[in-house]
């Protein structure tokens, strides 16, 4: 149950990052995008009293903030890794500044929606069918991203840009427009992930409350080998590690939570090392490179 809770924001963030990376852009600033989503989502919920408005505002904030990243790496052709880290620092600072008056505010937050009939089932009922809307939508979202990327014309173009922007350009695509579109969607998803943390799960705002989840999402994209459906497994696994840690503390099991936390990272590394030879086929070929146009 905790695994689902902790895994949901991870999954949204991972799907966003995956979309960007399929378009050939690595965004290490996802942490900052999530923080902006979290603080704007929470603030809006406090002001309007509506969690739905909060989520919407959080998503938009994430999308807009990611446009700043797009301006740097697409328009200005800046280094992606450095721009991502700078974006993270910016998000940490800006969200702290925006959120300073909301520290300690309480909200009702996103409500759980027990599914009729199903949630009354013994044992599995409360475990599987008593969540907020974003949890229910998380896995369908992964399928949606999968469908968009692999079954639509737009998804095909996007992946073409991620593999070889010059060829895509020659085939009549505009790599920059497609990348901006991918970044906008990724920002929305990252913002939702952040807003889910503050509005849905914690129901409060704290400075740097994402606590590295943005980076975990980047690791998860690698773990899932750039595939949206494998991201579901990854998010549940990573989320499970977070949840198991909380649970073990409650039970008083004498295994250190930090060792458990390490597992997902080591697993990701192991997965990559074992699949090492196949890696270059899994990662978008043009990931991290800058499309210079065709002068």
């Amino acid at each position: 149950m905790g695994s689902v809770h902790a895994g949901t924001p991870l999954l949204y963030a991972t799907l966003g990052e995956l979309m960007e990376e399929r378009a050939g852009i690595v965004n290490l600033g996802l942490e900052g995008v999530m923080l902006m989503g979290a603080v704007v989502g929470f603030g809006t919920t406090v002001q309007t009293g509506s969690a739905a408005m909060g989520l919407l505002a959080g998503a938009l904030a994430g999308g807009l903030f990611n446009m700043l990243f797009g301006f740097l790496v697409i328009t200005c052709r800046a280094n992606q890794l450095a721009s991502g880290l700078a974006l993270m620092f910016c998000g940490v600072g800006l969200s702290a500044l925006l959120g300073v008056s909301y520290i300690g505010s309480r909200i009702e937050g996103l409500k759980e929606i027990p599914l009729p009939v199903l949630s009354n089932l013994p044992i599995v009922g409360p475990i599987l069918f008593n969540y907020d809307i974003l949890v229910y939508l998380a896995i369908p979202m992964a399928f949606l991203v999968w469908w968009v990327l692999f079954s639509t014309r737009w998804g095909l173009s996007l992946r073409a840009v991620g593999e070889n922007p010059t060829a895509a350009f020659a085939a009549g695509q505009n790599p920059h427009v497609l990348q901006f579109q991918a970044l906008w969607i990724a920002g929305l998803l990252g913002g939702i992930a952040g807003a889910h943390l503050s509005v849905g799960l914690a129901k409060t705002w704290a400075e740097w409350m994402t606590a590295g989840r943005g980076f975990i999402a980047v690791a998860l994209v690698i773990f899932s080998k750039w595939h949206p459906l494998r991201a579901i497994i990854g998010a549940l696994l990573f989320g499970g590690a977070i949840a198991l840690q909380l649970q073990m503390q409650a039970w008083g099991v004498p295994i250190s939570p930090f060792i458990l936390d390490m597992l997902p990272y080591i697993l990701s590394l192991a997965v990559l090392a074992v699949w090492g030879g196949a890696r270059r086929y899994a990662a978008p070929a043009s990931l991290g490179r800058v499309f210079q146009g065709t002068e």
């Binding site: 721009s83 880290l85 600072g93 800006l94 590295g212 936390d261 800058v290």
Partner: protein, 352 residues
């Protein structure tokens, strides 16, 4: 795209004479400062007062200046840790983890051999710190040299493993039983604490940082290794055919880079903290990456960029106290400076 274009693109800001670029940099930072002033105005704060606070608290007094130098030490070291492997296009985003591993190894040494005299113990923990960071870096080196995992990905993932490992030790086996509920190890003995200059907190790490810069510059420009590294950086395929052992260089440079970040961790834990704590570094490793990138791996550029970022990181506390702003607001200023530098550099590389 031509290989020289790629090269220039990754090398960082081009140098057209030091004075001219210095002037341009000043203009850029001016722009970033103006943008940050606008942010402050939007939030109803007085930007002039904020800037007076920032500069007075860091450059306006001996104490402030020394505190700024204290921040500069790990920033320079972690930047060199990135710059060394970047000579052959290895991207080390693992400075933070390597710093933590260095601190961990050094702490082990300081707590285990606490009865040794300082002149043995200090070199010992220095070597251990270097080894800790270096071994951590060389894991990524081996994975890359074998063609298994890209070093960008593995150094980033290993950051978290290192930080969690330190957390595990500090909350678990290494926790000082006398420290009540604080997650920290026992205090270092005096012999394990790096000496500081005068009454300040500026410690021997400053010498390490300077030495690493000078060595880096010297090896690169004056030795055969530097030549071979430039050969690999320029054209790996040609270098390989000329018998330069690329795989060995990959592992070695990530070992050395990691080791230098490890020294940063060692000096932080020994001179500043005096015991190992989970909150060892506020992201020095990440900032080091940005500094090295801004400087394009140039030793003097590293000093300049580290100086600037040190002023900014050191002034977080004063903004919190004097203006009632959250301390992490300085991150915005830092990010704006980076944005401006990134945008300008990217455009320039694109223009060719």
């Amino acid at each position: 795209m031509s290989p020289t274009g790629e090269l220039a693109n990754r090398l960082g800001p081009h140098r057209h004479g030091r004075l001219g670029s210095l002037f341009r940099f000043a203009a850029l930072f001016g722009l970033a400062f103006i943008l940050f002033a606008i942010v402050l105005l939007v939030f109803g704060k007085n930007p002039v007062k904020a800037y007076v606070d920032i500069f007075r608290s860091t450059l306006g007094s001996t104490y402030g200046f020394s505190e700024m130098l204290v921040k500069m030490i790990p920033l320079v070291l972690t930047a060199v840790a990135v710059a060394v492997p970047s000579r052959i296009w290895l991207i080390n985003v693992g400075g933070e983890g390597q710093l933590y591993m260095g601190a961990m190894f050094a702490t082990w040494g300081a707590l285990t051999f606490s009865n040794l005299p300082a002149w043995v113990l200090l070199p010992l923990i220095f070597v251990l710190g270097f080894l800790g960071g270096g071994l951590w870096g060389s894991i990524s080196g081996i994975l890359r040299a074998r063609g298994w995992v890209s070093e960008t990905i593995s150094t980033m993932l290993l950051n978290y493993v290192a930080i969690l490992l330190v957390n595990f030790l500090v909350f678990g086996p290494w926790k000082d039983p006398e420290s009540a509920n604080y997650p920290q190890t026992a205090d270092f003995v005096d012999a394990a604490i790096l000496p500081a200059f005068g009454n300040t907190r500026v410690h021997l790490g400053l010498i390490f940082a300077l030495a690493s810069l000078i060595l880096f510059h010297f090896v690169l420009s004056r030795t055969r290794w530097g030549l071979e590294m430039r050969a690999i950086g320029g054209n790996p395929e040609a270098a390989r055919r000329n018998g330069i052992p690329i795989a060995r260089y990959i592992v070695l440079l990530l070992f050395i880079g990691g080791g230098i970040a490890g020294v940063a961790g060692m000096s932080e834990v020994s001179a500043i903290q005096g015991r190992l704590r989970p909150s060892l570094s506020p992201g020095y490793g990440f900032a080091g990456f940005l500094i090295s990138w801004m400087a394009g791996g140039d030793p003097l550029g590293i000093v300049a960029a580290a100086f600037l970022l040190a002023i900014i990181t050191a002034s977080g506390d004063i903004l919190q106290m004097a203006q009632g702003l959250p301390g992490s607001v300085v991150n915005i200023l830092m990010a704006l400076i980076l944005f401006v530098a990134l945008a300008r550099h990217g455009r320039k590389a694109g223009r060719k």
